[in-house]
Symmetry: C2
Subunit: 353 residues, 2 copies
């Protein structure tokens, strides 16, 4: 990801919600600035306590959270920026900033694809009203940010290149609208792993955010941002039974270990609840977790495939590659780090809120 962005000389701001681990963060942060994005204030506290000094909290701010934002900023001398997309939120930030004599830095979220949040550019008066409210009220307007979440539903390179171009164009246009009325917009932050991977032009953008690229997963492999062999997280499972008549193998990993993410169900190749590999992470042809209960996974061959069930006696170990690394990792409190088939370290996660 860094190589891809270096071509455009645009810095990466890693989204640390995928791994929720300082050890993983250290491997993706770009010195010396070490800017990062987080999805919860608990992550913000955690990473700030580990010395990160430039964080964006990426979920729209709500007034009851402002005091915690302020505490993190002061306690850890961390430049924690909030995100918003309404005049109400801007008013709350302005009031809080004034009452606490602390000008909170803000990015205005701009919608690029109708995915979920953000001001629509068709509503440029709203964008400018929010920005003016912030600047005139004494908060710090840092700029604009976008998240091309709909890109997760794309699979062709052409569509992905177009989505990346549209995200860039929308973000840059929003910044220009603010500048046109005399407001500063130093940050133009865009990002999603798919659009970051397929960007062909980043003119006017000041930073790119991405997270899931750190691990990769079956959805990303389906999109084309990684290969299956690049996927860095898997769930180790034990074979606990067979149903010969039905051609099924039972494993002790159900949705509690795998999550219920079925992101590949919308893709060309549906990987069900995960692709089953040997202990060395070599996939068995078309061997999938077809069903998942709490602690039971039902493994079988993909429908229509000519592959046959491998011989996996009870007690055999298998590795399951996930649909969605963020969701599967979220089911665990730590990573077991493997080198040369040995667990060499355990890295804790910061779950919760």
């Amino acid at each position: 990801m860094r190589q891809q962005l270096d071509r455009f000389a645009i810095p990466l701001r890693p989204h640390l919600k995928t791994a929720k681990s300082i050890e993983v963060a250290r491997r993706v942060l770009v010195a010396p600035h070490e800017a990062a994005m987080v999805s919860t204030l608990r992550e913000a506290e955690f990473y700030a306590s580990h010395g990160l000094r430039d964080l964006i909290y990426g979920v729209g701010i709500a007034p009851p959270k402002l005091s915690r934002v302020g505490e993190i900023r002061v306690r850890y001398c961390t430049d924690l920026t909030v995100v918003l997309d309404s005049v109400e939120q801007a008013e709350a930030v302005v009031s809080w900033s004034r009452e606490n004599n602390q000008a909170l830095p803000v990015l205005i979220e701009v919608d690029v694809d109708g995915h979920r949040s953000g001001v629509r550019l068709a509503d440029s008066p709203l964008l400018i009203a929010i920005a003016r409210k912030l600047v005139e009220g004494g908060a710090t307007l840092r700029g604009v940010m976008t998240h091309a979440g709909a890109s997760y539903n794309l699979q062709s390179a052409g569509d992905l290149i177009a989505a990346a171009a549209a995200e860039r164009a929308t973000a840059v246009r929003a910044a220009e609208m603010l500048r046109a009325v005399g407001l500063a917009c130093p940050i133009v932050s865009i990002g999603s792993t798919p659009t970051a991977s397929f960007a062909r032009d980043l003119t006017g953008v000041t930073e790119v955010r991405a997270g899931v690229f750190m691990f990769g997963d079956l959805v990303q492999a389906g999109i084309g941002t990684c290969g299956i062999e690049d996927i860095a997280v898997s769930v180790l499972a034990t074979v606990i039974g067979h149903s010969g008549a039905q051609g099924r193998i039972m494993v002790d990993s159900g949705w509690m270990a795998l999550s219920q993410d079925r992101g590949t169900s919308r893709q060309t190749i549906d990987q069900h609840y995960g692709l089953v590999c040997d202990e060395g992470c070599r996939p068995y042809p078309d061997l999938l977790v077809l069903e998942a209960n709490q602690e039971h996974g039902t493994v079988g061959i993909r429908r229509g495939s000519a592959a046959t069930l491998p011989d996996l006696p009870i007690g055999s170990l298998v590795r399951i590659l996930p649909n969605h690394a963020c969701a599967t990792a979220a089911q665990h409190d730590r990573y077991h780090v493997i080198a040369d088939a040995t667990v060499v370290s355990q890295w804790p996660r910061v779950n919760g809120w």
Copy 2:
């Protein structure tokens, strides 16, 4: 649930995997025996360390786990029973029992509905071969157990009564097969919340297991084992945005807080990612979490409904009722216990394996 089973004078063995909390367990355990079921060996350790002395580990045993089972039994003087459905597993249990001079108690799992695991009764020679292997090898055959997991897909009382009758009949027939060849079968353990709730006859059954009834959820309400007003767990969320044009409200609870369980998608009333209520847990008509990203929930009115969006300014608190209590609770490390609109206690969960 206890009242339902008292009608048949059959003891309840609560499945503690839903709550994973000793405080919840204490409220559902039946004195003086306090028998319970668990889904992980970590739960077994946890509940044994809190004094529970009669546990079944309900996921088919694999040989690498036997030493941990033995340790729990010895360290906590706890009668921890394992479950299996193959001769290979029986051989492993027998070898371990002999080598460690500790006769492990075993239940043979019997399939009642093709849901996932268990010996099929059509394969009665297998059932008897497993039982003989255990008895002759020096393990302790306790009996048979079934789980009518397919009952979660039913919604009519007639179908549920029939599923409960079929589960009972299959379990009792398996026990009779063993007794017919001179093997003791003291335990005939059946269970699932739906079949336990709709049982009309439990002749020959010695205990019933159920778990999700403790909390209830939208799937159970759809099945008819509880009402929506009975659901005891919810996720507290904050309104963080609006999209007026699209009639959407954004909240700060996505799949990280709610899980991705969509169990009601197979039911008559699809509740999407959850039913949205006011802070006092009164549902807003047809207000659902329509989409869930990691920390974002997109709330809107059910398609085709005449209901209108409630006025929920940014910062408003809502409660979201879950599709599946087990899955949603699994996303959290504790419960905030509420009485008279006040958090009166926090109960930790025992997550992990």
